[in-house]
């Protein structure tokens, strides 16, 4: 039995001479909630797209439950769900129609679909709007219905790109609780986020990607222990590793100059 849900081996993506993702090696265990962090343009979305079959790696492999997604795309996609940062859903479907469509593709039995859909819609406070056209939804509501669609077939692995962007605090809290619960029940979650608090509070493992390279990997405790960061928060570690501290120093310098004048 494969204990790794996600396995990246030398996964690389190049655009001409520029390497957006540089030979990543990474394993995420079953039931793990993995936070993929990095500054803008670090390669987070590129990596997720390669893992979900939306972007072809230049070299290396990506496996989901031991299945190479580029060699056996259909088998791998049966196991996964993906929520992009900007979900482009069918504007002319209602929320219910959309969930029905996803359920049909995954061939979920009708009764199970009904129960699951109602449960998810309730969690995300969408029950009232489920019969409205998606085009009338706000960004946050679209995000929520996309998450419902992703969870409706109870995937083994869930990929989420900035899932909390656009969510109101209540929905963000619901999502966090739900993800934790689902992971405890065996689902693997691979999420990218900028909100370090989420990663710190929820994630079992964290990877920090910077300029296409993974520069830190492990549990929160491991990260803190590794570079003598015992007393530091994830934010401090992140900024130190990704050069944010230099930026902070420049900002201080600018404000000092301003004060001097």
């Amino acid at each position: 039995m494969e204990s790794q849900s996600i396995k990246l081996t030398n996964l690389t993506k190049s655009y001409r001479r520029q390497e957006a993702v540089k030979s990543l090696n990474l394993e995420v265990k079953k039931g793990e909630l993995f936070g993929f962090l990095g500054p803008n343009g670090a390669g987070k979305t590129t990596t997720i797209k390669m893992l979900t079959g939306l972007l072809k790696p230049t070299s290396g492999s990506a496996e989901i439950n031991g299945i190479n997604i580029w060699q056996h795309p259909l088998k791998a996609k049966e196991k996964i769900a993906y929520v992009p940062d900007q979900p482009n859903l069918y504007p002319k479907l209602t929320g219910w129609d959309y969930l029905e469509f996803v359920a049909s593709v995954f061939r979920i039995p009708k009764e199970r679909f009904q129960t699951k859909a109602n449960e998810l819609l309730r969690v995300f406070s969408l029950t009232e709007q489920a019969n409205d056209l998606i085009e009338s939804y706000s960004h946050g509501m679209k995000q929520k219905i996309a998450i419902c669609g992703a969870l409706i077939h109870e995937p083994d692995v869930l990929f989420m790109d900035e899932p909390t962007v656009g969510l109101d605090p209540k929905s963000a809290r619901s999502l966090k609780n739900l993800l934790r619960e689902l992971c405890d029940r065996g689902m693997t979650v691979f999420l990218s986020t900028h909100i370090l608090e989420i990663a710190e509070q929820m994630c079992d493992g964290v990877g920090i990607i910077f300029e296409g390279d993974i520069i830190a990997l492990g549990t929160m405790d491991e990260l803190k222990a590794s570079g003598g960061h015992a007393d530091q928060s994830l934010e401090d570690i992140f900024l130190e590793l990704t050069g944010g501290e230099d930026q902070q120093a420049i900002i201080s310098e600018i404000s000092d100059d301003g004060d001097a004048k």
Binding site: Y15, R16, R17, Q18, A20, T52, G53, L54, L55, K56, L74, K75, K77, E78, I80, A81, Y82, P84, P87, N88, L89, Y90, P91, K92, L93, T94, D97, F101, V102, S104, V105, F106, L133, E135
Partner: protein, 584 residues
Amino acid sequence: MMSALLKNQWKIFMNTMKSQPGKNYFGYLAMIAVFAILLYWFSAGIWTIADAVTEQVFAGILSYGFLLVIGFIILLGLPQVFKHLYSATDLNLLFTMPIPTRYIFWVKYLQSFVGVPLLVFVLYVVPLFVYGAFIDANVLYYPVVLLVLLSVIVISLSIAYLFNLLLVQIVPASKANEFMTVMSVLSGIFVYLLFMLPNLANDRPLPEMILSGLPLFPEWVPLTWASEAIIGARFGSMDFLLPFIMTLILAVIFFTLTSTLVERGFRTGWVKLSEGSGKKRKKGAAKKSGSKLNAPIIAVGKKEWYAIKRDMREWLVFLPLIFFFVFGFIGFLSSGGGLSDLRGPNEVTWPITQAILLFIYAMFNGQVASSTIAREAKSVWILRILPLSGKDIAFGKLWISWLIPFVILTVIEVAVGIFLGWPLIQFVTGIVMKAVVTAGISSIGMWLGTIGAKYNPANPQNRLKFGTAFMLMIASYVYLLVALIPFVMLLIPVEAIDFAQQLNQDIDGFFGSAAGFIYTVLNWKAASPVMITVAGILLMLIISLGVSYLFTMMSARKIDQGIEIEMVQDVKSKPALGRKHGSF
């Protein structure tokens, strides 16, 4: 799986119909009514002439008709096919689901039938059935017409798909934005050659060939099979069978060929195109501090220049120029002309060249200037929140949209002038005159851009509403005529005075009055040539610069008041509604 996808499409269609505002239904009804009337006239015409149509003439009409079907579907259906294959927003979702790519492809293929192919189908099948009824055709005729027509449409659509599926493998990912442009150009050339086929295959003109009942194409050409199948079925002759089966087999081959490219051409192509856009990063030396900053008007123009320079599609507006020169030149040489024939006295070649260039300026300047407004598209808010006046924006957009065609056409003019051996004075006069006159065209174009801006992400060249684009065409030429009057007056020699007088006496109306006006001016010119020359130059300057200033200020005012850019969101699902307005 297919049923889930089809059911989904059906729901989208039904919800789209249900969510339309009431006025749209009237629009659809009106469109259907107009189409039905056209179809009725067309059918009535066929009913009237059907008696005179011999079998051979009918075969010629059918062959050429099928050629038109192929040409139109490729030309008009190509953008739709591109949209279905590569720019549909649902692909991002569908490709992460366990759906075989071929199923997604087949649904997209079926979707492509709705649109140009369906219209073509109705437009052909009704008149053909009317003709069948008139000649009391055998019962076989009707299903054969249906299936042959369907096969021709499948073949045409498959060619459109093949264009997309094959080209996507050749075009590099970094040129994803230009993919559609390259494809449009190539398909245009392909269809042009296709329409030239009858002319290439025969020595006599096409109408003559059809009316005399001569075969347009050799027997081995599939268009002949399709027409022979229908001809054979008219009176129940079994001769229809072989060409009919061959046509059907050809359609199946085309469809199968298209389907075999699905994995490489569709899914991998989509992945390639999605990664290509927005991934370009300018590596290399970062801009050093102290890199040049400009005045707001210059900065606005520079911003426009970068947008044009870095997107090949923007240059497509000048494509007719290349066709104009290249095809014109080839046509001239192929008709037996030599390069030396183009040379002539400067008094003749110079004004002719000026007239041609001004005609081209009138075509491009307004178009380039009007595009600058809709180009803002969804970024309109940036100019809105910046502390820029409408005047800054209008003049910023004016100078760049005037300069680009000016530089391009001046380079051409210099090359032509050197070839023709013009003296320096002619160079300078021509270039300065056009520089002044064309600013007016640009300003009119920009003003029309402010009142009729439209942005269609799928077709970035389409930046003006239809009515406004038409107005622009008329306004550019009217302005040119008016602005050039004083200039032309300077050019007409005093020796023409008698001719003008005679025309004035012989002709009534507008032309007579014009001749009278010329006669009067020439009289003044004879009396004091320097004064009249100066006055002519001044008048031209006043008209051109006055119009430029007036329309630029009107544009500025409109920008200050807030401009609405009609955003075409999704042409397929919302023919009349799918628009949101941007404003700045």
